[in-house]
Subunit: 478 residues, 2 copies
Amino acid sequence: MPNSTSPFKDILDSIFPARSIAVVGVSNDPGKHLGGREYVNALVDARFPGKLYPVNPSGGELHGLKIYKSLQEVPDPVDFLISAIPAKYNIPLLRDCAAKGIKIIQIYSAGFSEIADPEGKKLEEELARTARETGVRVIGPNCMGIYAPKYNFSYRVGLPPESGSVGFISQSGSNSFHAIRDGNLKGLYFSKLFSYGNATDLTECDFLEYLAEDPETSVIGGYVEGVRDGRRLIDTLRKITPKKPVVIYKAGNTVGGSRAVASHSGALAGSERVWEAALRQCGVLQVFSMEELVEALMLFQYMDPPTGKNAILMGTGGGVIIQSTDETIEGGLNLPLLPAEVRKSLEKTFTTEAGGSFRNPVDIYLGRKEIIEQTVKLLTGLEQTDLLLMQIMLGFSNQTAMLRPYLKAIRDMSKKINRRTAIIIRPAGSFRYANFTLKLQQSLIAAGYPVFDSARRAATAISRYYDFCQRVRNLPKS
Amino acid sequence: MPNSTSPFKDILDSIFPARSIAVVGVSNDPGKHLGGREYVNALVDARFPGKLYPVNPSGGELHGLKIYKSLQEVPDPVDFLISAIPAKYNIPLLRDCAAKGIKIIQIYSAGFSEIADPEGKKLEEELARTARETGVRVIGPNCMGIYAPKYNFSYRVGLPPESGSVGFISQSGSNSFHAIRDGNLKGLYFSKLFSYGNATDLTECDFLEYLAEDPETSVIGGYVEGVRDGRRLIDTLRKITPKKPVVIYKAGNTVGGSRAVASHSGALAGSERVWEAALRQCGVLQVFSMEELVEALMLFQYMDPPTGKNAILMGTGGGVIIQSTDETIEGGLNLPLLPAEVRKSLEKTFTTEAGGSFRNPVDIYLGRKEIIEQTVKLLTGLEQTDLLLMQIMLGFSNQTAMLRPYLKAIRDMSKKINRRTAIIIRPAGSFRYANFTLKLQQSLIAAGYPVFDSARRAATAISRYYDFCQRVRNLPKS
């Protein structure tokens, strides 16, 4: 396959890094919508090293920066512009940008095809036409724009400064925020993220093509609501999935959801079944919520392709592990019965006073360090185990106190099942353990383990991941 | 229907309150299993006002209490006894109890029919026989026992001291702990909870019958793994469901889960379909995880029976609300299109610069207080709304800052839909908001709103709750 160049690759490359960014619509009136000011706050917070030019007819100052009364007043060249002015003013703004030699802008403003008033649709058509005429490329409108921590791009104060190799596109600003925030807690770090809204000019296809060729991106995630050109998306995905894994959450699948999509990004959601078949044929890993999207991306980062679906499920708390057993099997993994001699040895190892179950799931009472060590020794000797699911239950009895030897057990056991061990921690559900749970989760992810909230979610995600890896392996090489 | 008396009602009534509790198996050796000592710790922590008698051959002291070398040595009468000694010693212990006039004991010890060794099964049969011969009633073995905060019964340090009207039975100790801990965070307070383990003597049926007649219990929840006498359970449920709502999570439904049940409580799990049909016919509200069990009980406490399934879903964050829209409809509720005149008025109310969606879901940007007030006014005027689902998204933009007016909106809107409003807060997913989220959740529950983690869970629970209330209303009155 020829190494095609993304049509706007050069333009995007010119803003990573950008030397200067203008933000238009920076009102000083606290009663007014804060859009523009929040972008300036975010870029300052992200320590954007280039020049920042806030623009607003009011003039004044922001963060010690002069607010220019108009774009024309800005003395220097501008690499990127963010617009937060009312919808209709974006048409003349595009012409001003062209005049100033600005090649790409992002329009945060809403009030286009997503509103019920037909004026919005007309305005968006005019915007598209003006973009074509002037050659200025537009991200949006009705979008949050770019988050690219390596290049100090941020759209909100407090977004993580660490960069990584996850590329992301999102038609929704709030869901892009979800991906960053929850993703960060699940060990996801981003190369470039584009929240692209109504996709009037630059569409999901443009961003996907760009990320497919971006050397800083190893895996691509996407939240898509509605698509204007389904054929092009299919072609694009078919072209890029042999290069990099792509995970897509296509939303708005119910009648109500599709109606909500229309008034969110002015797009048509399409039928669920059609999308499911199409995405599968394109070699995409499809998921069905933002949580699942984050989890799938986490697996690409922290789990090697599984060798099969046979897992050992281990943990403490009889009833808890039974619910997890049902969930693991319903989620698509197998829990094969342990060999008789291993079961017998485990039974001997454990004192009987507090129970235990040694068939798989392995439910052990973590009362003593030696027990854990003995268990690890017995279980790591096993062949034909593809996966380990290690459940941690916090707050019950002295299991929290025995956490340290249990964590050591996880380390020792996972050496054998290298990079194919997942941790399950049910949300703390109590003030006492809320922060502790988050910290534990973070330290486990830092140690390289994917962490899930429940066995159901772990099994569902891993089973899909396995199927995906099998499918990709069997794809004809292009 | 005759007001039948539970066969062991008098015995249980005699321990609520108990004047004295003996705990047998209180080792002083820190290397040893802590079972017995933890019970003493828990009862001291729960400020049990009666007398506590720790018993162990070692003698010594615990919390300033004398450790008696044997039960015979205890000078006074004992109302309740907790045993944490190795399995086989419980047979002679039962005879000692009979000699001392103790009518009911709880056996924490494991090592009975739940272990693979056939000795365990034999031992449990002997235990059952001895219980019958002596007339001493047994809770367990292999169980956590009783949590009844009003009577200062507790099985673990740190369990909430507040009592309420939720009665609970659980074959699993760890799941009873889950119900207390997560339940507490969801506003559930308990009258009496029984973790009953292997159910050798007293079974789920005995506890259900007791709770059905307990004036301090208004609703009953149950976690059941396996049942020895299915016929009796069906008869019991059929008898009690016309008196009080009963919510059951029957686990161990997969082949692996059923295998795990056998080695957890020595019982047979049975097939999923059979149970589903049977529970339904008995007038039980069936759920499929501990989380759903807690949520269903929460609805009985904080939501009146819904008048129908038509909801308004309101929140902020376009993409987030679209996922929630799909989840609400897939969960079984309807989101009818708002009347045209209301939509038009909402559109006029909102500035267009930041978007919004007014068809249902109602996605509004919480940038201004007046907007919220106007929205509330328009939406509370609506007829034919059965339910409100109010989604709160934390941490994104200034929506967190605008939380106070939004909470006021929730209050104002829910006045019309009195006690039929549910709140959806997605888990915080960040250190910054973890504790804040828990506190917000707690304050909303304290204000009388059920709170859910996602629209899927809210809609699934409420839809089932509605169906249950309809079914019960149509039941022939007994």
